[in-house]
């Protein structure tokens, strides 16, 4: 077993270029260490990234918020400004494990791990997130929706490092929410996670609707049909009902030790109804 703490992006990229196939990247390690101990992944080379300061940046540029790859759940949720601009993502980050997990666990780590139940992914999807990757041969960017291709599968090449995310912040007249379903008040792997972002104009007509869910399919996804049912509506019962119906039909959940597929399907429509109600309140409050 080899363990190396990289101090810079070029150093990490150099090692990835030479040993990418053997390397397991390690940021906070909250997912990776469990998987190593359970034997779900095997690696003889852990490349530790937490010392790379340039991956800890947080900035606004070109109407996007750029989150460095080492932004932890705790850092995000403690940031008052971001708590407003990326409300759903912040809400989701606060539900990932306990304080100890949030302290070292990173948003990008969730993406790289691509768990079907990752709380942060639905909010990132409604923020039209773009993933920035670098390798020794160059850089590329890809929409998050395309980046995650399957359960625990992404398009990241073995020589690539995720460097940052671009997320669209909430605009005036928009509201968003992340709702998570689980029996306890915390420490749940989402039975269902739902992020909704709505933009309303002054007469309450929906100008944009984004809906994303996790834990109801192998991959968290945006539900375009349900979004279309809301856009242009004034969020009347019929439009909301139709969106709920379409979202329900799009789900392909499984039974597991935490909940049945039937339950996961059953809660989607009423949960969407609740999320829409909250988004509408938040959007109205945000209308300037």
């Amino acid at each position: 077993m080899r363990f190396h703490s990289a101090e810079s992006i070029p150093e990490a990229l150099g090692l990835l270029a030479d040993h990418g196939n053997e390397i397991q990247l390690l940021a906070g390690g909250t997912d990776v260490m469990i998987q190593l101990q359970r034997g779900e992944i095997a690696s003889d080379f852990l490349l530790h990234l937490e010392r790379i300061d340039s991956l800890k940046s947080l900035s606004s540029q070109n109407g996007h918020i750029n989150l460095g790859a080492l932004i932890t759940h705790r850092r995000l949720s403690a940031d008052k400004d971001l708590s407003e601009k990326l409300k759903a993502l912040t809400e989701a980050s606060r539900t990932v494990g306990g304080w100890q997990t949030q302290e070292v666990g990173t948003i990008v780590g969730n993406i790289a791990n691509a768990s079907p139940a990752a709380d942060t992914i639905p909010p990132l999807l409604v923020g039209n997130t773009v993933v920035h990757l670098a390798s020794s041969s160059g850089e590329r960017a890809q929409a998050l929706e395309k980046f995650i291709v399957g359960r625990r599968q992404t398009t990241r090449g073995p020589d690539e490092l995720i460097t940052s995310l671009d997320v669209e912040p909430l605009s005036d007249g928009s509201g968003e929410i992340y709702l998570k379903v689980g029996p306890r008040s915390a420490m749940e792997v989402a039975l269902v996670g739902l992020a909704v972002r709505l933009s309303l104009n002054s007469d309450d007509t929906v100008t944009d609707a984004r809906i994303a869910v996790c834990s109801v399919a192998p991959v968290a996804y945006r539900c375009g049909e349900a979004e279309q049912a809301l856009i242009g509506s004034d969020l009347g019962d019929q439009a909301v009902g139709e969106a709920g119906h379409l979202l329900t039909n799009s789900a392909e959940p499984i039974d597991d030790a935490r909940a049945s597929a039937r339950y996961r399907t059953r809660v989607l429509a009423p949960l969407l109804g609740r999320a829409i109600g909250i988004c509408r309140e938040r959007a109205r409050a945000a209308q300037s």
Binding site: V181, G182, P183, R184, S185, A186, M187, E188, V189, L191, A257, R258, A259, S260, R262, Y263, R266, V267, P270, L271, G273, R274
Partner: protein, 766 residues
Amino acid sequence: MSAVGTRAKRSDGEAKVTGSAVYTVDFALPGELTARVLRSPVARGRIVKLDVTAAREIEGVWAVLTAEDAPRHRNGLAIKDQVLFASDRVLYEGEPIAVVAADNIEIADRAIDAIVLEIEEEEPVVDLDRAVEDDAPLVHPGWEAFEPAHTDFPRYRNVCAEMTSDPEGVDDAFEAAHIVVEGEYRAGRQYQAYLEPRGVVAEYESGRYTVHVSHQFPFNVRDRMASALGIKPSSIRVVGHHIGGGFGAKLDLGIEPYAALAARATGRPVKLVNDRTEDMLICQCREGAIVRIRTAVDEEGNLLARDMDVLLDSGAAGTDGPYLISIPLILAGAGYRVGPTRVRARTVYTNTAPTGAFRGVSGTHLVFAMERHLDEIANQLGMDRRELRLRNLQEDGDLLLNGQELPDASILREAFDAVEEIAPWSQAGKGENRGVGIASCVWLTNPLSGSVVMKVNEDGTVGLVTGATENGSGAVAMGVTQIAAAELGVTAEDVIVSFPDTDSSPYDAGSQGSRTTHIVGRAVTEAAAELREKIYEVAGRMMETSPADLEIIEGGHVGVKGSPGSQITLAEVATEATAAGQVLSATGSYRTASPKFDPTCATGLLFPVFPTPTYHVHQAEVEVDPVTGKVTVLRYVVAQEVGKVINPDGVMGQVQGGVAQGIGYALYENLSIGKDGRYRQRTLEAYRLPLAQDMPDVEAVLLEHPDPAGPYGAKGVAEPPIVPVAAAIVNAIVDAIGAPIDSIPVLPEHVLDAMDQASKRAEVRS
């Protein structure tokens, strides 16, 4: 001021809060090896190949033991139906097949992987109703030859034990009834989930084993291990360490013999610690149960007669099941007058991990069933649920169904009143999606023997040597310690209690059944009475006064009655005694006398009475989220009868901790079994324990009715707080949603299912 009834720092508190307390998982001996156990990965099958050759050849492996290397006779708590290692057939997932001892855990795990094991799988017996059918495959084809550990009892095929009581008048009462209410109630298993997994460090020297454990009942480890290994109990020394929680799971023999056999085979100390998944499998979690009840009721809501059938899932071994099946008979007629009652209770073999003791054994699911049933009766009569209960309450002198008299049964009415005063029923649980539930229980204080040796040290401190265990409850670190302090007029800090050691400690029946403060505390008062006489004898000589004129004075002194100026210290007395070749020590022991009962009331009644009964009422208010089905406990009120509070924080800690475990049992802790006989939840991520945010502030009233036989009047405290919780919570949920739920745990999806079914029924009606 006496040390009893006041706040006192627990004697082990500083060690625990600074990390210096050594638990068995922290304990190490020079040169110790690490052991791991190969366990059956399947629930039922035939072992067609078991080859440990490759494992034995791995460098760093000291021993690989299988059934070939161990005694093959059967052992067990009530019925001898367990073997140390499976050799021919496996009967449950987790059954031991081999143990490896190696230099470290990595090598041990590699050796486990190197063992060649092939099992021809068979379809396991999992479903309880199926298991008791005449043509069900047998879990133990050789059941008839099994020997009881003590007395035998009715048993047949997959029915490990059966208790039946069929008094006269039941059928007549049913015929005369205004209505007959029927119900079927189900409860899942519950994992004790103590945070320290089971562990053991074993040594073997000159024909004797020394076994280091964090165990609630060291003498039972000694006796059960002796039986399992076929050796004398005195060939085993069991040494207790700090216990990282037990809740009943650390009462029976567990992994101890495997470490012991490995220590003997290697000549080195061997440490064996369960990993969490393994621990969940073999902890002997609380049994799942099906309870079917029919009750005959008249128009006014008087209960006329009852018929109850109980099935307990014992798993692949009997463990304590043959004792547990007596409890339905006792509880079916406890608290309320129920008329003649027929009870059949069976504990049933299945191809699943064996179940066993958990705080409030069996009471949790029986009270859930009976109190849900009372709500159903009230609903069918259109009667207020609390009113129905009050109408049927027992009075002082009423008899339990076993014929045992309850001289103080009216305490239960006082408990109902106490709850009403804090949270009036008519105002509770109001509002959309909200509901209130109430439930009561009668519980016992385990009567089994306890003993102590008590001495005064030369510095005036008091030493207690006992086999009693401090499982975390504070019964030793607070209760027994404070009683000893009060008895000799010293502070609790000046009482030093030994850890248990079966070589040197007098016997104790373990921290079970809420017994430690009551039984061991009483043993302390017995010892103290004798010790005081010895103190007075020596002090009288020193003070040139009659021992009869002396008394203990708070602050560690002995003085002349009515003469405050004339006193000497306990230290001076002890020093003088030592110099004179005397010993200031005394022994004390106690066992509660068995209450009278009617032995003809039932067959198979191995646990026939409820000594030192206590009375309790719980009331819960909940809110249900109609979107997700999630339940939030808004308010929780307890009235608990305790005899006498020895330490207020200690008692409240038991009440709040018990309620938390009850809320987990009712709402979160799902331990389900697949058709393959394996647990579906295998980690603490999937098996959800209550968190700080999930807990309401429990409001508790402690009712004191001192027991003349108890130390300062104390009765058992620790178990009752978990017993009625699921009943109160689920009754509140049902009140909130207006639809019945008769199975626990109540997960969010069960709430939505019940609501959906109710609205379907409403549609059909309209």
